[in-house]
Amino acid sequence: MKALRTLGLLALLILVLVFPVLISPNNVVTDMAVFTLIYAMAATGWNIFSGYTGYISIGHAVYFGVGAYTLALICQYWNIPGGYLPFLLLPLVGLVAGTFAIPLGFIALRVRKYAFAVTTIALMFIFQLLAYNLRGITNGSLGLYLPPPPWSSDIIDLPFYYVTFILLLVSIGVSWRIRHSKYGLGLLAIRDDEDRAFGLGVKTGPYKLVAYVVSTIFVGMAGGMFVYFIGTIFPQFTFDPIVDVNLTTIAFLGGLGTLAGPLIGAVLVVPLQQWLTLQFGGSSLNLILFGSFLLVILLVMPRGIVPTLQSKWLSWKASRLKGARVSATRQERPALVDRKEG
């Protein structure tokens, strides 16, 4: 069973690696693939904080935008040419985003649950307004331009694809490491019952703040990658409420607090969204269709795809084995227990 799983993962890895080469000249599809990977990385980062602690941040676009502007400004001031060099700057970009996250996270984490979600939205709009108004730095609504990459248009997507893929693997690795550590257990405890976790000695404040900062590093790098890929940067497309909701949607549809959730969510949501925009963008029909799709999935699988399928699979296996006991405690489902209301 375990060998089968390893083999499956390996096959998936190879498929992801050769995928863009196979369909290389088709820029529409490879563009989608790059966006999917960028969002998968950002959502994996988002999941480290929001998925594990249960604090839903709808303001991670702040760090998406900070990352984007950091890369653009560095390239501008240091006269960095297009090529592989901006990719090497991405870790620095992530660190800058993480630095921003320390005071902002401290402020936002003073409140819980609902008020936290709303506060993060407010922070996002503060940054959007700053990006518009601090013209000396951001060039306001005129935007900034990044150095164009030197590669020919046939293969231009490939470097972006592979670098993003490496970063995605790193983010998955970090997420996995946290999930299987004592620290990660503390985060899950905060999600299930914060007061009790605090009573049991989990330092809830620092735990949350550290997870918040770590998650923003990946979102920041995703933002940097995003603008380098797009080539231009405007306040409304980087500090964008749509980015916020997309991250939440991707991670939630896939399964909050699971490793595979953000990946599956990204593969499902991003290409669909892009395709709908390409097909019906002029008539607003894309919004109706995407909204309906979202609504249906949320109502049919309110726990997200991974946890729902997992429990279906487990109950199917249990019914097939009949006599054999399948311990319910062994299933690795996200620890969110149905909370009773009131």
Partner: protein
Amino acid sequence: MAVSLIIEGVVLGILTGGVYALMASGLTLIFGVLEIINVAQGILVILGAYLTFVLERSLHLDLFVGLLIIMPLMFGLGVLLEWAFIRRIKWDRVTLSILVTYAIALIIEGALGYFFTTNFVELHSWYIDATVQIGGFYIQYIYIFVFLLSVVLLAGLFLLIYRTAFGRQLRASMQNRTAASLIGINVPRVQAITFGIGVSLAGAGGVAFGATNAFNPASSYDLIYRLLVIIVLGGMGSLGGALIASLVMVILGDVVALIWSPVWSSTAFFVLLVALLLFRPQGLFGRLEGRKQ
């Protein structure tokens, strides 16, 4: 000079702040009773504005007469939405409520964009264009009418909540849902009606918003974050807080716009929010969120 500018800002703020109070009170009421964040409130306001637009163009109805049609219509829509979608949210209410109402908002936004395109629309009437002079300032009639409308509707809302049997049930469900249903209150019914009231207030706010602003379907984004910040500032679930926070937001915005620069007017309010969160995380009138016993 500066003093008269500040007075002008305050007067304008009081007149238009009522509109935000209308929309925000609907939102905070929905949060208080249903414990959901209704992200669709912004687009529902815009929907109200577009309905007014349709009534004005096709039937040549006066904006405020159109209100008599729009508010019941929006109430029905709200009850329907609650019954069809909100009631199905059984767990993880923070995330699911945000995503479900966001999906609803997307569908409504798409429908509005499909039928009306994304061009900006303005409402017309004699009192939108004409001005009246009050103590040295020229003010459009519409601002005065809109202010009166907000006062009347908010007074009605307070009467409904604090002086009727339904209001008692609503306040009971707000305090403790389990206990409320134990003493025989039909909580799901209260929730459906509350959502309907919240949406119809959004509709009324939409008429007022549409009369004082040009709008398109994407205007809802700007609206919803202002409304969300208002209810956090006021303390989530607190009606009085929403009222005061609306006035503070609009007055502060107008004063900053007049004496400094319009580009910083929204930022000032957000900075106020951040400062408040540092010292009083529960908002002006909110209770500290913590463990529910």
